[in-house]
Symmetry: none
Subunit: 206 residues, 4 copies
Amino acid sequence: MNEKFFDLKKEKQDRMINGAMKVFALNGYARASTDEMVKEAGVSKGLWFHYFENKIGLYTFVVDYAIKYLNMELTADMPAENTDFFDTTIEIEKVKMLVRRSYPYVPLFLASLDKETSPEALEAVSNYIEVYRERIREAYANVERIEFAPYVDDRIFDMTISYTMKGILEEEYAKDVFDEKSYMGKIKVFLSQMRKMSQAAPVEEP
Amino acid sequence: MNEKFFDLKKEKQDRMINGAMKVFALNGYARASTDEMVKEAGVSKGLWFHYFENKIGLYTFVVDYAIKYLNMELTADMPAENTDFFDTTIEIEKVKMLVRRSYPYVPLFLASLDKETSPEALEAVSNYIEVYRERIREAYANVERIEFAPYVDDRIFDMTISYTMKGILEEEYAKDVFDEKSYMGKIKVFLSQMRKMSQAAPVEEP
Amino acid sequence: MNEKFFDLKKEKQDRMINGAMKVFALNGYARASTDEMVKEAGVSKGLWFHYFENKIGLYTFVVDYAIKYLNMELTADMPAENTDFFDTTIEIEKVKMLVRRSYPYVPLFLASLDKETSPEALEAVSNYIEVYRERIREAYANVERIEFAPYVDDRIFDMTISYTMKGILEEEYAKDVFDEKSYMGKIKVFLSQMRKMSQAAPVEEP
Amino acid sequence: MNEKFFDLKKEKQDRMINGAMKVFALNGYARASTDEMVKEAGVSKGLWFHYFENKIGLYTFVVDYAIKYLNMELTADMPAENTDFFDTTIEIEKVKMLVRRSYPYVPLFLASLDKETSPEALEAVSNYIEVYRERIREAYANVERIEFAPYVDDRIFDMTISYTMKGILEEEYAKDVFDEKSYMGKIKVFLSQMRKMSQAAPVEEP
DNA sequence: TATGAATGAGCCTTCATTCAT
DNA sequence: CATGAATGAAGGCTCATTCAT
């Protein structure tokens, strides 16, 4: 990319970033159309290619940007002393909602990376995604191991949490307007339920 | 569609059906390319249009076919007397795995329908999808209500089950080869864990 | 072409010839579609190519056939002793109407040759068309020169006759059903008018 | 269509308009090929669709343009006080020849509209054609009724004029180069002949 | 002989990308 | 810097032609 992009007025930068993220998030890499971004951001077609060599360059930039921005906010706004898994997870979601106010499609965009199927796109951003995962892992660094009930498998538990939260997120984005209160409510109920479930004493199997 | 399609050699029919399902499942309706199907099925471009009026016609056919085939196998192979939610769910997955031996992409293809965003595609297949959902509901008809622990919310529970299972499925398809044993293993562990979790007596919240 | 075509049942031959002529006449060479002929004649696609090597071969055959058939009928049914231009013209039209009973599109098809723009088609049939023109000229061989009024130019007169008659013909074919009586009526009125006009003594120009 | 088309250099606009009119006039709507226009106008395929949404949009535009341009010239260059049918007809032809200098295919293109058979095309331009016909009718508004000889039927007379003139026009376009002098000469001879013929005192029928 | 399944070149149209202004 | 005109490869689809049965 062309570093001069950052000399643009912040407001224009953001229009472009938001436009790109929205179109990529909703359509996936290959089906995302330049023309739709042009309309979304109100910025001429040529300019996109002036700053970002090509479509994959733009994609890479936006992935990088979304992750860097989220990581930054994680660093700035996460209470470091958190030692509880569920509380930490909620804090992370709060940070995402914070980011969402500046870049409305960051949470969906990041979630959409898992669905991406274009080999070209995956190849280009795998490093960035790894950075993101690492940062999330780090956010959980101080979390104490949960006292799981004996029948709870770690990996399965993690999967359950992450897939379900992703499902809830996409459900919310599928609505006409994202209702942050409703979203955070569902997330909290879900996590609280998972907490109780995972720590409960088992009943006899039938 | 042209009913003569069914006069083709079964093997060729299946190559076409599998090719279409694979490409649709991996790319979504709009991004699925005829050329890719041509390569996948080893059948000329013109022939697709000889049997299926156009792309949406082919899509509709394949959705219908996948659902009909799955429903048929559900009817043939599901032990009817099942009254347990988790057992029933496992039986359904077993049927899907059975179907997968003839039509390897049916499970992923059906799961991909939830992600479909093209209005044209959704419009064309909404009826079929409803039939499918109804059939699944029916499979659960004899299931007795689960004795949930008091802190377990029905809707959240359902979401947890379905999103997680979908996640596990996609994970397996993301591998080079689908490992049925590994997949069913994960599903079973997950469900068994959910059973215990949901029925457990809660411990005190900290 | 394959001469065995003539071993087919006459009725089938005619269905094919009529189908081809209709589709060619209505669409021109390039836009005439094999599938439409198949529907029109109820004869499989392969058979057309079995008897006529390709589209241009079929076209050539049909042009030749239409012209030969018309010429034959001209020879058989034209009163040879005719010496009047207008009467001769009417007789020719009568013969065309006769031909039309066996091959309904011959008159339109022959008229459509003038409109043909495809170089390939023109190249292939120019000889045949010349034969046709020659035969028509011959039909007028015994016609005595008309005593035109002095202001009537031969070539212009001919053009007027032929273009107008063609217009009237196409008009009739544009109707749902060709009404032979109506057609011959119009032709006769037109010719009678032309006769009077061309032989009249001029009035003073204003 | 995209109004920016008119911001193009006039010369390029005209190359595109002329290319489209030529290909449409010679092949009819359905058979007119984009590739041929590309070659004719020396303008890339994509550009046509940049300015005209699709083929039917381009066709509509060109019909509209041809008619508007001709109407404009009719308004600018027709001696209004004309009261004679034949003179008026010649004046109209003169205007067409004037238009032809800028847009060589306008006369043929407009004549070709009568032959158009594609329902889609007809549907799209029927309004425009009606405007054109109305304008022509208007051009004849001041014309005094002709004193026809008693044996001259109005409708037949009109048909004779219009079919023959169309025939003469197409004949001229069929030549390698359109010879305006030759064309106008023929038209004038024809009309002068028709004038005399239609007003003459009849001789006895034989 | 007769069929229609099968093919692939070509058509209209879209879209990432380039480039003159 | 900014625009959008311009390009051409690729996508969905049609159609003359071939070929196994």
